[in-house]
């Protein structure tokens, strides 16, 4: 691992990407990153409410949760986990490519774009798998709350499974919305990369997108065992 300080970096005045109210790129990038981490903190806290609801539901109705979770597809969940983990890697590689990229270099920009595209692709695969999972649940009436009809379709799950499926849909749904938003951001960053904006002089945009995307991955790392696997 190397600590690198590029010469071009040291002169804030010559870096065209520094906004007027900052003194230099170090200050600007540091601010952007701290801002992103604070935003991630709020995301974690927001999801924590749903995780807490899950744990409490589990505490109230342990047998129901065990019965209901059997109906989720471990395979689909597992595939999606691997897809997301891989996308986290491609994202980390995109950030790295920006960190070592030379300003104005076409090849370096192409590298960033390649990894971003791969990440986007993974996000797409994730959503497609999710779509098939959701439609299976819809078909069997395993829906949240008052829309739950699986018992009329002949699925006997003891207790109040509409709570479990409610929590399942809210958690994965909110997570899915984050995936969608992430895709939107990546497209935007991709366009900026095409314009050759990113290099070691200026990579905070790619880095922050990366941080966001890893958070989406983090949430799923916990969702997967809790919803799909745990007995």
């Amino acid at each position: 691992m190397s600590d690198s300080t590029h010469a071009a970096h040291t002169d804030g005045e010559h870096n065209p990407y520094v906004a007027h109210h900052f003194d230099n790129m170090g200050q600007q990038a540091g601010a952007a990153k701290l801002g992103m981490w604070l935003f991630l903190a709020t995301e974690l806290l927001m999801f924590s409410g749903l995780f807490l609801a899950y744990f409490i539901c589990r505490m109230w109705y342990p047998d129901m949760v065990l019965g209901a979770h059997e109906y989720l597809s471990k395979t689909a969940g597992g595939i999606n986990t691997c897809v997301l983990l891989f996308s986290s890697w491609t994202m980390a590689m995109a950030v790295r490519s920006a960190q070592v990229g030379k300003p104005g270099s076409k090849e370096d920009a192409a590298k960033i774009k390649k990894y971003l595209l791969l990440t986007l692709l993974c996000a797409g695969v994730f959503l497609v798998v999710k779509y098939f999972e959701y439609s299976a649940k819809f078909e069997h009436g395993m829906l949240p709350g008052k829309f739950y009809t699986a018992h009329l379709h002949g699925y006997e799950i003891e207790g109040l499974p509409h709570i479990f499926f409610g929590i399942y849909f809210i958690m994965t749904g909110l997570h899915g919305v984050h995936v969608l938003v992430g895709m939107g951001i990546m497209i935007w960053i991709y366009l900026r990369a095409s314009r050759g904006e990113f290099s070691h002089q200026n990579y905070a945009g790619v880095e922050n997108t990366g941080l966001y995307w890893h958070l989406v991955d983090l949430v799923w790392i916990f969702l997967f065992p809790l919803l799909y696997l745990v007995k």
Binding site: Q27, T42, I56
Partner: protein, 546 residues
Amino acid sequence: MSEQPASYDLENPSEPNFYKAQKGLKSWLFTVDHKRLGVMYLASVILFFFVAGFLAIALRTELLTPAQDFVSASTYNQLFTLHGAIMTFLFIIPATPGALGNFLLPLMLGAKDVAFPRLNLLSFWIYSAAAVMLLCTLVLGGLDTGWTFYTPYSTSTGTAAGLAALGVFVAGFSSILTGLNFVVTVHRMRAPGQTWDRMPLFVWAIYATAVIQILATPVLAITVLLVFIERFLGIGIFDPAMGGDPVLFQHFFWFYSHPAVYIMILPGFGIISEILTVHSRKHVFGYKAIALSSVAIAIISFLVWGHHLFVSGQSELVGVIFSFLTFAVAVPTAIKVFSWVATLYGGSIVYNTPMWYGLMFLWTFTIGGVTGLYLSTISVDVHLHDTYFVVAHFHYVMMGGLVIAFIGGVFHWWPKITGRFYHEASGKLGALLVFIGFNVTFGTQFFLGHQGMPRRYFAYLPEYTTMHQISTVGSYILASGLLIAGFSLAMAFRKSAPKAGSNPWGAVSLEWKTSSPPIEHNFHDTPHVTGSPYDFPEIDKSGRTH
């Protein structure tokens, strides 16, 4: 203390001030200048304060007699709900950070702007959207859940609780973005020499507030989102009929809302620290204690939310723990009050309007805080919960604390914001009427609550008539005081109002080291800070231990 190159004439700046730097409606709606955003927040929060205040007067008028006279029971419910919701989510929470914080924070730090100016603009737009949503509930069925949205009523009522929940959800994002922006600004944007122990106490307070905004508001967001979903899908987390538990909702809600009361009051503490020192010409007593107690309050405020659930069916053990921790909040709060009083001691106090509000705050806030201790004693709260005692308590802290500090702050910084002086005599008259009116209105409510008058009722037993009538008359005095205060401020817009100059109070912190109103980029030359913001020139340095 700070040094400025002497060459630049602050009284006759060569650059136009930020109002004149750009023209047209668009230059306001799409501005990224923190000062313009501050002014727009100020206008909005004052507007909502008057809207919600008007509703309050309607409520008090209904309570003139024991019977139901002007409004029906359900209208009364909608009135107090909207009053509470607007006051909390559209006035108090955004008021000080959004208006004064935006305007002053970068100036006090010596920065050109906040760290993320565009995010700042977005935050204002989101706030406006939330305001529209909350006001739309008025025409789309009203809202009668109380500002607390307790389930299962909020998940089953036929009124527009869903839209209101979404409005609060949206308002939360505005608050989060403001907080995030301020934390980064304080960490990254300080001028040369502006170290942590040289920051004005207002900045410390806003910083602590911002930390709470970031940590607590996301939980509010998910809570109201769950209420919304529970309402339309009935998933059964909060609704007992579907297998949920309303007490769980209360945990979720108060995990945010208790820290939120400190989002409301902490910036007020910051304002008071500035007013009391500047107008008593004395170095603040216990700078470190005041600064760090803000942070301590921010942290402890997350450990006490259960005091709102003492009689909700929370387990006794948890209740006792929460009761004990609630007492702990009083310690850093008291440290502040003692430090303020010690700051005044021996100072050369100038009795002008901001100072009047500052002194008023010490009185009203202390009463509010001390009655909080009564309420945190479980055995007492069993009797006082959901009575007018609680109403009086939180009005003493929210109105008597934050609102009074906020008005004082607006008077204090008015010369900076407008470049001209308010009208002193009417300012003082307004302050006097606010003080009398406030104590008459809410002081009586302690007695009402103690005698057993429950809150949120449109009618009452005849025994309570006298007290209620005194309280209503008090509210009229209070309202007239507020109108006169507004008049005094408006007098600064006259052409003939006296010009304030860059530093009318002889203060030392950086916001006074630029012209009034400030130029677009705040400072002509980046200021260099060399000392404490409370080293007033006339203080004999040899006699002071720092």
